[in-house]
Subunit: 201 residues, 2 copies
């Protein structure tokens, strides 16, 4: 490598470090964060479960409510239930799937699951609460938007909350501290590749 | 709820189900997938670790190489090392951080870590291999692009691989089966909120 390339690289690295240091120095509020993982791409729920792993690494208590999913067994469900039963885990499951073409029973199932979410959002022993695929409950008006937003807003200060799912609505996006939008640039199934066990579910 | 709303909803649900069923029916190739999680938003590495959780749920073997990170201890590292020592876990760590303003030692560290990645990409007992933050090694030309791409391309058929990090380059994007781009709509630190233990690291 030439000396000029090396010098240029060094300057670039120094500048990056300086910018990151500045951002870190400016941020001084220490509290739980609220995160929305949205968009059409792959990786929303798995990202939430990666954060669960982080919290478990530090020995923190975690609560999870999965809205919608529950018909097909998933790797994360087996993992949590079998290897980390200390995690509070609730799945909407029975009474709701995309196969259910009955709005009233869907609403009943959503409301029954929301009871668990609401309890977790009041429990200050929980460091992290994951509300997986919650956005669909708002999009279909299965849950009252202001009830959900208010419960998230009024949670214990030390608690972080992660909401996943496409959409989510303007009010939710405005309220959350961090919003990441995951876009599908391409997806394996369009090339005929089946969903993969231990990766996609 | 009015009957017309219910009927409209039912039709909408049926149409969704039909479309999903069609996509599933078309996909018939069963093999490991290659996934790139890129973009500037939060959630790339955590998503990869969520997939690790899924694979562990099914009892599959997993290999992880983290490029760059290694100075600050992370929740995922503690979790894997203490609770799941069966996972092959390598971290670039010493010899490389964003504090290192020395290109030659960075290259040496990258190459030493690549040895582990290359070994994992040849090991058909591994169901999932995570190459966390690998893209930076390509962006800075610390690793040879064709060497990396070829190792990913020629991995065992049953093995899935997840690459994370901003950018990644055109050739990598073209080769990967699934590409998700995670965009930062907003981030808590811009509101002064510090990175959160058990969530951000």
């Amino acid at each position: 490598m030439s000396d000029s390339k090396s010098a240029k690289h060094k300057a670039s690295m120094e500048k990056q470090k300086e910018q990151v240091d500045k951002s870190i120095a400016k941020a001084d509020i220490e509290r739980g964060v609220s995160i929305l993982l949205t968009g059409n791409g792959k990786g929303k729920s798995s990202s939430a479960f990666g954060m669960v792993m982080r919290s478990l690494g530090y020995g923190y208590n975690v609560g999870i409510v999965q809205f919608i999913k529950g018909v097909q067994l998933s790797g994360e469900e087996i993992f949590i239930r079998e290897k980390h039963p200390e995690v509070q885990f609730h799945q909407m499951g029975t009474g709701f799937t995309w196969d259910t073409q009955d709005r009233d029973s869907d609403i009943a199932a959503a409301e029954a699951s929301w009871v668990h979410a609401e309890r977790m959002l009041k429990d200050d022993s929980l460091h992290l609460v994951v509300l997986d695929e919650l956005t669909y409950m708002l999009a279909y008006s299965y849950l009252n938007e202001e009830t959900v937003l208010s419960a998230i807003r009024n949670r214990p200060e030390s608690q972080s909350v992660v909401v996943t799912g496409r959409g989510g609505g303007k009010a939710l996006r405005e309220q959350m501290d961090t919003v990441s939008e995951i876009n599908d640039i391409k997806h394996a199934y369009t090339a005929g590749i089946m969903a993969r066990k231990g990766v996609d579910y």
